[in-house]
């Protein structure tokens, strides 16, 4: 018996036992969520949980949501997702890249359950993927950073050298340079999504290099705390981090999954759900620019908001040529726009960034 037959027979077994209690119209639709961190992380998972609550608020007793938090990626994820499916959830959001293979595996066994996997690239008839164009938001805060820096040095704390983070670094640099041709960018990789002590050290390292604006793609408020000490500024990441407003937090880039979650739950309720890959940005309200505080001059605020609105309206793409790669080779010609495929595998810096991407 080979592996494929094995999977088929398991699928057959599980579908027989599970297809029986099908969801009737008068019962609430059960929606499950798997979180990689605790809901109290104040960042990535916290934002997903806010969106879950928004789904409950939107649909009231037509839905019933449950979640399992702090699920390690790997074997535990597959079991947790299966448990959600077995508990009668008909739509399951798996909210971390590392849940990708586990989601696809479970989806094979539960053809009647719909799955939504965040930030991945594997789809099936009952597995959709979704992601946010964070780089759109980065363009806006990059503009503010370029205008606000006095030392002409801005710093970026990256988590891991993966395409999503590289897009963010490139986008913020391009737009900082656009408004301030003298601006330089320093990049530090923390190799963690969340490690407050290390993020603080990373911020301190950037500040010591003369940086006075810090952008971060890690989830804790430690860099803001450091910036405050040094009289520098920064931006909220993932969540609004409003406790640090009006300064050092002068604005923020917020992950807002609520519109997408509400849309997809609605589609399951009315039967129009299909598997697709969604990559939404400012225009769909998935990437939100948090309030720009009074620490930012009015004309800079207006400029940033104008850019935000232009991107939101689809009139402008943050990766529009002419753009060269860091090695000097031509990437995009005048007026040419980066394709989604190029962006989703982005592994290079644009011209002007002197830092290197670790291999």
């Amino acid at each position: 018996m080979n592996r494929r037959q094995l999977i088929a027979s398991v699928a057959a077994l599980t579908t027989i036992s599970l297809a029986a209690p099908t969801w009737a119209q008068d019962e609430p639709l059960k929606v499950g969520f798997i979180y990689v961190g605790p809901v109290g992380d104040g960042g990535w998972t916290y934002q997903h949980d806010l969106a879950r609550k928004a789904v409950e608020a939107e649909f009231g007793d037509r839905v019933e949501t449950t979640f399992i938090e702090s699920v390690p990626e790997g074997a535990d994820a597959e079991r947790a997702i299966t448990q959600l499916a077995l508990a009668g959830n008909k739509l399951i959001f798996t909210t971390s890249f590392g849940f990708m293979d586990a989601t696809v595996n479970v989806a094979k066994k539960f053809p009647n359950v719909k799955f939504e996997h965040a930030t991945g690239y594997k789809r099936a008839d009952n597995v959709a993927t979704y992601d946010a164009r964070f780089y759109e938001g980065r363009a806006v805060i990059g503009t503010i950073a370029g205008r606000m820096t006095k030392s002409n040095k801005i710093g970026y704390i990256g988590s891991f050298p993966i395409p999503e983070v590289i897009q963010g670094i490139n986008s913020s640099f391009i737009h900082a340079r656009k408004v301030n041709p003298d601006v330089e960018m320093r990049v530090v990789w923390a190799y963690s999504w969340f490690d407050p002590a290390k993020e603080a050290d990373a911020a301190a390292a950037l500040l010591a290099e003369g940086v006075d604006v810090i952008l971060q793609h890690t989830d804790s408020t430690a860099p803001l705390a450091k910036a405050q000490e040094a009289g520098a500024i920064g931006f909220g990441q993932a969540s609004d981090m409003a406790a640090f407003a009006p300064s050092p937090r002068v604005s923020s880039i917020i992950d807002n999954w609520a519109p997408y979650y509400i849309k997809r739950v609605g589609q399951v309720l009315d039967g129009s759900w299909t598997s697709e890959a969604t990559w939404a940005g400012i225009g769909d309200g998935e990437v939100v620019i948090g309030e720009i505080t009074e620490a930012v001059p009015a004309e800079v605020k207006a400029e940033a908001e104008a850019l935000r609105d232009k991107i939101g309206a689809g009139e402008y793409h943050p990766f529009t040529g002419p753009l060269n790669k860091a090695d000097g080779s031509v990437w995009l010609a005048e007026g040419q726009v980066a394709t989604d495929k190029e962006l989703s595998g982005m592994n290079f810096f644009v011209e002007g960034i002197t830092a290197t991407i670790p291999k």
Partner: protein, 295 residues
């Protein structure tokens, strides 16, 4: 060009949480107890300290509360290992699990709140940084020059002999465990009150485990702990600083280095001990062993 003095000041700040936790664990281990629950005690201290600082508006009261909470959370471990003679390694691991869970549970109301500001001390460093540095000679003096320290070391070196001399092994060890908890608590609170200014679950992110390595590196001496904290903190600070300056660094390989250095130090000291029988600090003789008085 990197300003070395500024880098050193960064290092002083960055190494403070692990310095406190490691100094506490040093005293615990010198009493013969291996407590692997440092991470759990740190996170409880981080929460308790943050909550107290937030409610009283006084960060220093926060640190006091963190010390108290760290000592309290160490008590179940003390009871298990000293009265119920449970294995120290397993009990310490259980303490880490318990502490992480407890802090997450009681931390919910503290989410999204900001800590009160602290005015910096000399050289713009936090007062607690200076307190940590002051603890190094204090603990050195306690261990090597005070009578109580002598008893504590005696208990750690050979608990049967200490018992035979009429010392209460158990009481000494419980005190050492509580002290270790208090220090870990302050170390954790430094992260929440002074570094991040917020409470979030899991915010110690493995610092307690680094503290354990530092104690080994230190060869069980207080100055050694300081050196270890600076080495471990220093490698992180330096690699981040080099990155910021645009230098390409092999981060993973570099972050392995302090652990390899620790093994080399441990081996060198053990070898010297083995071959030359020269006196000198090394792992306490009764480290990790249960003590049960038959009389």
């Amino acid at each position: 060009m990197i300003d070395l003095f500024a880098l050193f000041l960064m290092l002083l700040s960055a190494s403070t949480p692990i310095l406190f936790a490691a100094l506490g664990e040093l005293v615990t281990e010198r009493a013969g107890v291996l407590n692997l629950g440092v991470e759990g005690m740190m996170i409880v201290g981080a929460l308790a300290g943050f909550a107290a600082a937030h409610h009283t508006g006084n960060p220093f009261l926060g640190f006091a509360a963190a010390a108290l909470a760290g000592a309290l959370i160490a008590l179940p471990f003390a009871a298990l290992t000293q009265f119920l003679l449970a294995n120290q390694v397993a009990s310490g691991l259980a303490l880490t699990l318990f502490g992480l869970g407890l802090a997450a549970l009681f931390g919910k109301p503290m989410e999204g709140v900001k800590a009160p500001a602290m005015s910096p001390g000399p050289l713009g460093l936090n007062w607690i940084v200076w307190l940590g540095l002051l603890m190094v000679p204090t603990i050195w003096w306690f261990l090597n020059r005070s009578r109580a320290g002598l008893i504590l070391r005696g208990v750690g070196e050979n608990h049967d002999a200490a018992h035979a001399l009429g010392y209460d092994v158990r009481r000494v060890r419980i005190a050492a465990i509580a002290f270790g908890g208090a220090m870990a608590g302050v170390g954790g609170a430094f992260i929440s009150i002074a570094t991040v200014l917020q409470w979030t679950e899991g915010m110690t992110a493995g610092a307690g485990w680094i503290a354990l390595a530092i104690v080994v590196f230190s060869n069980w001496t207080a100055p050694g702990v300081l050196a270890g904290a600076w080495l471990f903190g220093g490698v992180t600070v330096l690699q981040l600083r080099l990155q910021a300056a645009g230098v390409r660094v092999p981060v993973q390989l570099l972050s392995m280095a302090p652990y390899l250095a620790t093994i080399i130090v441990l081996v060198a000291i053990s070898a010297r001990q083995k071959y030359s029988r020269r006196a000198g600090g090394t792992a306490p003789g009764s480290l990790g062993q249960d003590f049960h008085a038959l009389r």
